[in-house]
Amino acid sequence: MRFAFSEDQAAIHDAVDSFLTSISTSGGTRLAMDDGTGLDRPLWHAMASELGLTGTIIPESFGGSELGAVETAIICEALGYQVAAVPWLASAVIATHAIARGGSDAQRSEWLPRLAEGNAILSFADKGFSCQNGLVSGTSRFVPQGCSAEAIIVHADNRVYLVSTDTEYCLMSPQTSLDQTRPLAKLTLDHAKAELLAAVGWDEIEPLAWTAIAADALGGAQACLDQSVAYVGERVQFGRVIGSFQAVKHKLADMLIGLEQARSAVYWAAGEIDSDGDDARLASHAAKSFACETYAECAGHAIQLLGGIGFTWEHDAHLYFKRARANLSMMGAPSWHREQIAKLILPEDLCA
């Protein structure tokens, strides 16, 4: 048992971190917000072409690097730190995971090489659909970056379907969304032809998806803490830097306490997934609920500590605050995840 990054994992961590620090900018994110796509294309293409980040969970035979959940979490964390406007979570993690795991050879050959190159963008719809005779119907208003997606992974009754968006039976429309870096589109399918990804159930997709969202939250929470610490170390009031006041220090200490636990949660869950452990579900429920709540607290504290400047559109604090809020609700609220843990630790037949 060893709970620390391997040398390779540490190297990936450093490479992704320094790459994103140099290339992901608030300006790029703002352009993606303003044009309504939530897609920072230059960043996305650089991720694909320079580091191959769009193919990290794709088997090598399809052009990817076939890395595990820990590496996925490392990349999610780094992107979350930048609150980057890219469809990495929806396309490169969740949709890709579904096809890599559940697709036939033909489906994998069709999609994975293009996903690896970053030339195909997909998204997912986790609720609101049913399937009859191979035709999927329903509506979801919560499809991340859906308007950029050429196909959608759709969950219906624990089965996983692949549906092209380029048909008359599919209607995708943009919506003004709380988090403009990951806007939610409205998807309506009316007896749309769907391909079953036969080898996987939705419940097998979930642990990695929850863990990836949690890792995004972890990175975002760390960014909120770092920006707050920098600010309170410079801002002077009453003749002192405000970071010397205990009320301020203790708030920041609480952020770090939450963050450290969130970090344990994310990498515990990722490690469980990679080792196919018995606790993979429990750990990813824990990570999703804990890290997302920590992010929401840290993002809220950051706005409070930054004072008026944190409430301006110009400052990035609101991007983190909105992403944090969106992560809380995406794929199950914290209380729902905790109830799932309660079901695991308190089996019904043992209750009085």
Binding site: M1, R2, F3, A4, F5, S6, Q9, V70, L225, V229, V232, G233, R240, V241, G243, S244, Q246, V248, K249, H250, L252, A253, D254, L256, I257, L259, E260, Q261, R263, S264, A265, Y267, W268, A270, G271, E272, D274, S275, G277, L282, A283, A286, S289, F290, S335, R338, E339, I341, A342, I345, L346, L350, C351, A352
Partner: protein, 396 residues
């Protein structure tokens, strides 16, 4: 990252489990499941010695001092099996978990060969003399003095909140060896035998009804000149490293006690039906998450030395203390008024059932070893680099 166990780790687990099961279902079955830290001290002393004879007392120490050179994983495994077998609280936990590792770091060869085997064999039980009436959170305000007379230190002063002193043979204390020094300078870390005329011990009764803490009066108490750990005048550094250990490895064993406590709360909730209450379920799940994250936090901080691991270490004390306090509150909500009734005792005596005692004893957790407020200062100053608290000039 590897969350699975190797063949040899599994073999180690089986060996530890076998030994613990047989000891705690045979000769020491009366100690099985004991949670109170002051009851049955004689039997628990025998248990220390029994562990020592079989080399299970200090598995992480070098073999020449009575240990097994166990890896971190093996220490974790032993702690898990110890708790699973219902092992009692260690009477010598301050010696085994705090002083021993500090001697391994700072001790001379002579000190190692004298003190370490005695700890592992259960022949010397240790307590910790840090706090004083005027030196609590501000530990560096220590007034207890020690002066060298020939080949002996003469020690004068008063220590307080000294856990388990009434069962101990030795105390490790911080004393001012440079007269008129202030703050962290001029302190030394002394090892002091307790069975002597200059030492008197007075138990302090706590809100649980037990007396785990004591006052320790030092009135020309003596110890040999070479019973200084680290440099004379360098006691602060040694004491701080020990507090680091307190936040580190020793907690792996403690977490297993927490596991048993959480299991007891869950069992109570199932028995009385509150396990169906959605709000109770949320809190039980939260406790489960908190405990798991403590485990992986401890593993992370012990796994290496990067910044993240330092932060994991520095946030750990407040994390477990707050977790246990919440668990105590949850236990009371699960049990309701039932928790308030104990088996009958003679008038004037007071002992509550296990989960009620958890509720009460947890109130100390967020105070000793650095209060939650001091922890937040430490985290902000050392973890985040924020300015230090200014000192006032009042005398306590």
């Amino acid at each position: 990252m590897r969350l699975t166990y190797t063949e040899s780790e599994r073999a180690f687990r089986a060996e530890a489990a076998d030994w613990l099961q047989s000891a705690l279902s045979g000769e020491f079955s009366d100690l099985r499941g004991l949670t109170n830290r002051v009851s049955a001290p004689k039997r628990r002393l025998e248990w220390e010695q029994h562990l020592g004879q079989a080399r299970w007392s200090v598995v992480g120490w070098p073999a020449k001092f009575g240990g097994r050179d166990a890896t971190l994983s093996e220490r974790l495994i032993f702690a898990e099996e110890y708790a699973a077998a219902g092992g009692p609280p260690r009477l010598n936990h301050l010696g085994v978990e705090l002083l021993g590792p500090t001697i391994l770091t700072y001790g001379t060869d002579a000190q190692k060969s004298v003190f370490l085997p005695a700890i592992s064999a259960g022949e010397a039980i240790w307590c910790q003399g840090y706090s004083e009436p005027s030196a609590g959170s501000d530990l560096s305000a220590i007034r207890t003095s020690a002066q060298l007379h020939g080949d002996q230190w003469s020690i004068n002063g008063q220590k307080v909140w000294t856990s388990l002193a009434q069962f101990s043979d030795w105390a490790f204390i911080l004393a001012r060896t440079t007269p008129k020094s202030v703050g962290r300078d001029g302190l030394s870390f002394l090892l002091v035998p307790l069975d002597q005329p200059g030492v008197s011990i007075r138990p302090i009764r706590q809100i649980t009804g037990d007396a785990e803490f004591n006052e320790l009066f030092l009135d020309d108490a003596r110890t040999a000149a070479d019973n200084v750990l680290g440099k004379v005048g360098g006691g602060w550094e040694v004491a701080m490293s020990l507090l680091g250990i307190e936040r580190g490895v020793s907690t792996l064993g403690q977490q297993m006690t927490f596991r048993n406590e959480l299991d007891a709360v869950m069992a109570a909730a199932r028995r009385n039906g509150t396990a169906k209450d959605p709000l109770i379920r949320q809190r039980l799940a939260q406790s489960e998450i908190g405990l798991r994250l403590m485990r992986f936090g401890a593993l992370r901080m012990l796994g290496g030395a990067s910044d993240n691991q330092t932060n994991a270490a520095i946030t750990y004390k407040i994390q477990w203390a707050s977790w246990r306090r919440s668990l105590g509150e949850l236990a009371m909500d699960v049990l309701g008024q039932e928790a308030e009734i104990a088996p009958a005792l003679p008038a004037g005596e007071y002992a509550m059932p296990m989960l009620t005692e958890l509720f009460l004893s947890a109130r100390a957790d967020t105070i000793y070893g650095g209060t939650n407020q001091i922890q937040r200062n430490l985290i902000a100053e050392r973890g985040l680099g924020l300015p230090r608290e200014p000192r006032g000039d009042l005398k306590g």
